[in-house]
Structure formats: C-alpha cells, structure tokens
Amino acid sequence: MFAYIVRRLLYAPLILIGVNLLTFALFFVVNTPEDMARMQLGAKRVTPEAIERWKVERGYDKPLLLNAGEQGLAKLTDTIFFEKSLRMFVFDFGRADDGRDIATEIRTRMGPSLAVALPTFVLGLLVTVSLALLLVFFRGTYLDFQGVVLCVAMMSISSLFYIIGGQWLVSKVWHLVPISGYGEGVDATRFLVLPVIIGVVAGIGGSARWYRTIFLEEAGKDYVRTARAKGLSELQALFRHVLKNGMIPILTGVVVVIPSLFMGSLLTESFFGIPGLGSYTIDAINAQDFPVVRAMVFIGSVFYIVGLIFTDLSYTLVDPRVKLE
C-alpha cells in the first residue's frame, strides 16, 4: 500500500513533464514567437523592430532549446524552454500581458472560485444522490419512469440555457438577487446563491440518472435480497447497504474533481462576474494572453493529478477489498 502510493507520487511528476512538453510544443513550436507577435500587433504594417521589441518585452527573444551563445549551464538555462516552461514546476508563471504576476493573481482568485465551486459540488452531490435513491426506492413505478424521462430531458438542455434562463427569471423578473458581481466576506453570499443553485440544477439530469443505474445494479444483488429477507425495511436496505456500496463507483468520478474545484467553472464565473480562476481564463482567452492560458493548463493538470491520487487513496478507505497491489 505504501509502496503503491510512492509509485503513484513518482508517476505524477512524469505526467507533469509530459504536460509541460506538450504545452511547450503547442505554444512555441507550432507557432514561432514571430507569428504570435505579428498576430498580436496586427498582421499588416508591422515592422521587424516592433516584433523584436515585443519579443524582448516578453523574454521571447531567446533560442528555444539551446543557447549556443552562452557559456556552461547558461547554454541550457537561458532559453525559452527553461525560462517559460521549466519554471512552471516551481509555480513561477512569469507575467501576464498586462504586466501582473500570474502566480499572485492565481492565489487571490482561488478563493472566489472555491466559494462558488465548493457549495455547488457538495449540494449537487447531496441532491443528486438523494434523487437517485428516491428513484431507486420507487423503481419500476410510474414515478421512476417519469423521473428518468425528466433526467434525460434535463441533460438535453444546454448549460447556457440554465444560466441565461436562471439569471433572467430570478434576477430580472423576480428581483431576488443581483444579476452578477461579487462582494467581500458575508456580503458575497447574495451573489453566490444563484450561481450555486443553477450549478446544482444543471448537473441533476446527467448525474442522477447515472447514480440511479449504479444503485439499481447494487439493489439487485444477492446480499441486498438477503438483507430484505432478514426483515430489513426497504429504506434500511437502501441506506445501509445499497448507498454504501454504490458510493464506491461514484467516488471514482467525484473525488477526482475535488482539487479541480479551485479552477472554478468557466461559464458560471464569466456569466456571474465572479473574479475567480474561471473568469480569469476566459478573459485571457479573449485577450489572447498566452502566458496566462499556459499557466492555467499547467495548474489544471496539477490539480487533476492530485485528484487522481486522492481517488486511489479514497478507494482504500471505503473498500477494504481494494489492496492496491
């Protein structure tokens, strides 16, 4: 078990190196810094001097991989690859196009992201698991059928519709909460209510249906029948046996997203004007701020890998059969 975790931890940097090489190839090899400069400065009427200045300002004037003009170790370190790509491993992301330090920006923006994502995640899990259990309790009845139909219909609706429709109904027609914005401390709650509710509702369709399938499979197993034969009521059987064992496959999908919660949701944050990492990413995409996008790709995969390790660990906690050889 210990050896397994160590092996997973060692595998993680290996994957990160892969991610790093991939982003390097995407951002610097597919397009040379000249191409990017020409595009950002406007394709026509751009002088070589302007391009050169643009590159120097951003530190893109160095060779990609090997600086032949330098001595010793500087041959390798004074390159774009070292300065822009390898430095990300110590969470040094350099500066955004507007001159701000990306790492600081990421740290301050994690809070608001988490303030939306965490309640959405916890509430969403509670609601969908309870709904799925409810459907399983009434399995084979008209209610179950209607519920599944509703789930399929709900998962066929675009998430954009939930957000736009929710904002229109709750904020514009009913005037219950502000349409968008963010505040400090407790004041933030009135801005957070709507995005959280919409996030939960938008996720119900797909998840509830999926969990229902899992619970149904579990509820048909022999040990559950034995439990019922022993005289347990249907509710007891559901909560004591089906729920517990059904959580194992659910954990796979759920634990892995927990660290990614820091990343927030692009759509929700940009629609509701929440200054988190999601809206940071969208702004960077729209402004074609390549350093920020590059940093977010790296950070995102770090969170994902942490999530994978958490998933493995949580398995050993909930399922004694898993030994992790």
Binding site: L14, I15, G18, V19, L22, T23, L26, F27, V30, N31, D35, M36, R38, M39, A43, V152, A153, M155, S156, I157, S158, S159, L160, F161, I164, Q167, W168, K172, S260, M263, L266, L267, S270, T281, I282, I285, N286, Q288, F290, V293, R294, M296, V297, G300, S301, Y304, I305, L308
Partner: protein, 471 residues
C-alpha cells in the same frame, strides 16, 4: 441563368464520406445475424424510431447545407461577350438556394416573430411631411398586407389553417407510401398492412414513425405557410431571418458531433487495441500518452490548441481562397482538437476490453495455430470491439452538440462567421438586457438544440441497450 461551380469543402467531403461509410456498414451488417438482431431491436423500439425520424430530418437539412457551390458573376454591361467569367466569392449551399426567400429578405434590424413592423420606433416622415416616431413597416415581413392592423391576425390564422391542411395531405401521402412498403415487404394486402401498423405490429415500430411525422408535419406545415410572407422566428440585430439562421446551425452541429469522433476513431481504435494486445512497453507508452492528454482539463487544452490554430490560420491567409474555406478549415480543426481531447476515453475502454479478449480460448487457439498478430487483431479482436465503438460514437454525439455551444460562447469555438447554435446564443445573450427584451433568437436556438440533443440522447440509449451485451 448564371453558371455555378461546385465547391468541395473538407467537412462536406468528410460528411458525405461518413454517410457512405454508414451505408456500407449497413450493407455489411445485413449479412451478420447478431448485427441484424441488434438493429431490429432498435427498429422495434418506439423511442428508437421516434428519435431516428427526428434525427433523419436534421440530417437531411444538414446534408442539403453541405452541397456547396459558387455562382459566376453576371458579366458587366460593357464586357466583351467572350470575356472570362468571374466566380463570385460567396460560397452558397443547397439549403441557401432552397431557402433563398428566407436568406434574401433581410430587414433593417430586430423584428418580433410574425410581426409586420420593426421592433424599435423610428422617426419617419408621414405623407403630409410631418415627422413622427412610430414602428416602421417591415420591408418583407407581412408586406403583402394592405391594412395590417385589421388583416394581420386573420392572415396569420388563415395561413396556419392552410399549412395544417397541406401538412395533413403530406402526411397522408407519406403514410400511404409507408404502408404500401410494409405491405410489399411482408407480402400482405394493403388493408392488412394498415391494420398491422395501426396495432403496432408492422414489424418495426412504424406507428411511432407515422406519429412522429404527423407531429412534425403539423409543426412544419404552418411554419412553411407562414415563412413565405413572415419571419416566423423574427429577425436578429442585422435583420437576418432567425429561422434561416437556426436551419444553418444544424449543419455546424452535425459536422462537429459526427466528424469529431470520426477523425480520431482510427487513432483510438488502433492505439487501444495495440496497448491491450501487445502489452509491454507499447502499453506503457500508450498509457502514458493518454494519461498526459487526459490530465489537462479539456476546456483548457481546447482553448490552448484553438488559440494556436487561430494564429496559424491568421498568419497564412493565402491558404484560403474564400472566407467560407477559412471558416471550414477552422471548423475541421476544431473537430480534430475536440477529438484529440476525447479519444482517450474510448482508447482506455478498448484497451481494457482487448485485455479481456486476448485471454479467451479462441484467441489463444489462433495464437497456438500460428496466426499472425495482424490477422488475429483484425479477425478476432476488432470485430468483437465494434459494438463499443458504435456505442461510443452515438453516446458522444449529444455531448458534442452541447460542447460546441459552450466553446463558441467562450470564444474558442467555430469561426465567428460560421452560423452555429453557439454563435447565435453568443450574439443574442446581450439582447436579454434590452428593454423590452429580444428573446426570439435565443429561444429558437435553444429549442432546436434541445430537440436535436434530446433525440440524440434517446437514440444513444436505445442503441446502447440493443448492442451492449451486459444490458
């Protein structure tokens, strides 16, 4: 009559290639008993046939919109008769030609559905020379009405009635043809075939098809009858007919949702089988590859790749002759990028299944007889994985339609000039803040998207139930 020249965009070729492949696969499947049985289960399911009918309608619109051509410009007045004819730069499609009235009747700006006036008041000069602010009449919508205040409601109702009558006729003709076909194929008199279909015993679920088409006719008939004189879904900011825009969006949605899986399918299948069957370092390399790709959050990888692709396209304008070709290149690139982020799931699934299959007796027997690896893979492993590939293809479909809208909203989707559900929603979201609200283009896009995605989801469920041996 001006001449035309056919234009073959990449996505057109791939889309028609896909249709051809599906036809070939259908022919091949006819010879295999298990495949026939599985498809018969799809055909016998009411939900399956309802969703197939709806998807078929979307497909027809999408394919019509995929036949592209360019018109030769009319020669100038002073041009020599033998002068070289010049091609117009605008690329049109079969749908553009069929729906030409919708495409060409462009108003000044917003107008509500079925309206005969603009949505905003404008200062205009009355007959007596005084200036007054009023809602101006539309150039095309309801232009045939002489006294719109009195005649508008009656005219609309009349057209709806006409449309319903036409729809009933069309449905009757279709039902007659279908029942005739059923009667022929089963060798029974037409009357008996009618009764069989009516009782839901016509072999496949024909009654569901007839019911679906009935409902569709009842909707389409009035819409068509109204569309000849009105803007059924209103017009957008620059006065384009919203109904026409939604019809154009269908192709984009279909291209993205089918080609994305298609372009990366060979990669996923080949790598998945190789990793599972060969094992060893091949397995390690392939696993590493998809773990790396998988560990980057999808949206971010797509964003990075699309931004980079945009730089490539922008710095090489000479690659593309028309703006349609450039938009098409971006659409195809988006498919490839989306595919690159989504093939990993199928690859992992196929690897796991291959691991199981390679230990089965018949594969071991083949190996013991000295059958070559390539032959084992193509004869014994691949055919037994096809149901998984098919299920993955149909399951991905609906998700990709939804993803396109989100990506286009974020700004990393299709070219802004390509009409798609995403670009429509993106253009319309600011209109909700107007007072009074402009809701029709949003609602139209969402309704079409909902119907398409719902049909795709239901179809995917039926296909999975029919093909998945575990179900």
């Amino acid at each position: 009559m001006m001449g035309v020249q056919a234009v073959f965009l990449w996505t057109d070729l791939l889309l028609f290639g896909l249709v051809g492949c599906v036809a070939l696969a259908a022919l091949a499947a006819r010879r295999s008993e298990p495949m026939r049985a599985a498809w018969r289960r799809v055909g016998e399911s009411t939900v399956g046939m309802v969703s197939v009918s709806i998807l078929a309608l979307f497909l027809v619109v999408g394919l019509l919109d995929s036949v592209h051509y360019r018109e030769y410009l009319a020669p100038g007045a002073g041009a020599a008769p033998d002068a070289q004819r010049v091609l117009g730069t605008e690329v049109r499609s079969g749908l553009d030609a069929l729906a030409a009235p919708l495409r060409t009747r462009v108003e000044k700006t917003y107008s509500a559905p079925l309206s005969y006036r603009l949505f905003a008041k404008q200062t205009q000069e009355a007959a007596d020379g005084t200036q007054q602010r009023d809602f101006p009449r539309l150039k095309f919508g309801g232009a045939h009405l002489q006294y719109p205040e009195d005649d508008h409601a009656g005219d609309v109702l009349g057209r709806i009635g006409l449309g319903l009558a036409l729809a009933a006729c069309a449905w009757g003709v279709f039902a007659g043809c279908l029942v005739q076909g059923v009667a022929w194929s089963r060798g029974v008199p037409v009357g008996a075939a009618w009764r069989a279909v009516w009782r839901g015993k016509g072999g496949l679920a024909w009654r569901a098809v007839l019911a679906t088409l009935g409902v569709l006719c009842l909707i389409l008939g009035p819409v068509l009858a109204l569309a000849t004189e009105y803007h059924v879904f209103g017009t957008d900011k620059v006065g384009q007919d919203v109904l026409f825009l939604t019809l154009k969006s269908i192709r984009t949605a279909l291209v993205i949702s089918t080609l994305t899986t298609l372009v990366t399918l060979p990669l996923a299948v080949a790598l998945g089988i190789m990793a599972g069957y060969l094992g060893g370092w091949v397995d390690d390399v392939i696993q590493y590859l998809y773990t790396v790709l998988n560990s980057i959050p999808g949206v971010l990888l797509i964003a990075a790749a699309v931004l980079m692709m945009q730089v490539v396209i922008d710095t090489h304008p000479h690659w593309f002759e028309t703006s349609a070709e450039r938009a098409d290149a971006r659409l195809l690139a988006l498919c490839v990028i989306l595919g690159m982020t989504s093939w990993t799931g199928l690859c992992r699934l196929l690897r796991g299944e291959t691991l199981k299959l390679r230990e089965l007796e018949y594969v071991q027997a083949a190996r013991a007889f000295g059958v070559s690896t390539a032959r084992i893979l193509s004869r014994h492993i691949l055919p037994n994985l096809m149901h998984l590939v098919l299920i993955a293809l149909v399951m991905d479909f609906s998700g990709l339609v939804l993803a396109e809208a989100v990506l286009s909203y974020v700004g990393i989707g299709v070219d802004p000039n390509t009409v798609s559900f995403g670009t429509m929603i993106n253009a319309a979201r600011m209109e909700l803040a107007r007072e009074p609200m402009v809701w029709w283009s949003l609602i139209a896009a969402f309704i079409f998207m909902f119907v398409l995605v719902l049909a795709a989801n239901l179809f995917a469920d039926v296909v999975r139930d029919a093909f998945d041996p575990r179900a």
